[in-house]
Symmetry: C2
Subunit: 100 residues, 2 copies
């Protein structure tokens, strides 16, 4: 379907991270992924009343900020948190937003 690119976290600046986390919709997505059974979630499983286009855009932003990684499964694409790597890059930050 598409090959997603995931940045090396050493290339992600604090500013990029902050901008990605400065939108309530994106934080809600991260929390939804966190609370999901499998740790993975598809775009259309997001508990937000937003259009497909908008959700897709938010996922792209989160991906570019190194917060999530996405793999293709059939017609779906499942996203999960890059929890461990992110903790090393920005200690405490991800937990802060997940527990908000």
């Amino acid at each position: 379907m598409k090959h997603y690119t995931h940045p090396d976290l050493s290339d992600v600046t604090l500013n990029t991270a902050m901008q990605a986390l400065a939108d309530p919709a994106r934080v809600a997505i991260l929390q939804a992924v966190d609370r999901s059974e499998s740790g993975e979630i598809a775009c259309n499983e997001i508990p937000l009343e937003l259009s497909k286009a908008t959700v897709s855009h938010h996922f792209e932003t989160l991906r570019a900020a190194g917060l999530i990684e996405t793999r293709v499964v059939g017609t779906k694409c499942l996203s999960s948190l890059r929890r461990k790597e992110y903790e090393e890059r920005f200690p405490g930050l991800l937990d802060l937003v997940l527990q908000a």
Copy 2:
């Protein structure tokens, strides 16, 4: 000159905090305050090439996000970090941006 209002940190949302920290100029201001000798800094002592109006606006944003507090001394207004309170409200967050 003016009476500055400082929010109760329990009223500051994570989103407000993130938005305030999502601008490089504001992070630079926080770092400048942090690195200052006295722990306080005036608007015109900021190492940024921005107009007075813009700097004033950034200080207001930081104040509204509970990151700094400002006191009036003569014609100057000196701002300092609300370090301890912020650490209680959003553990690790301020240190993260100061050390970036």
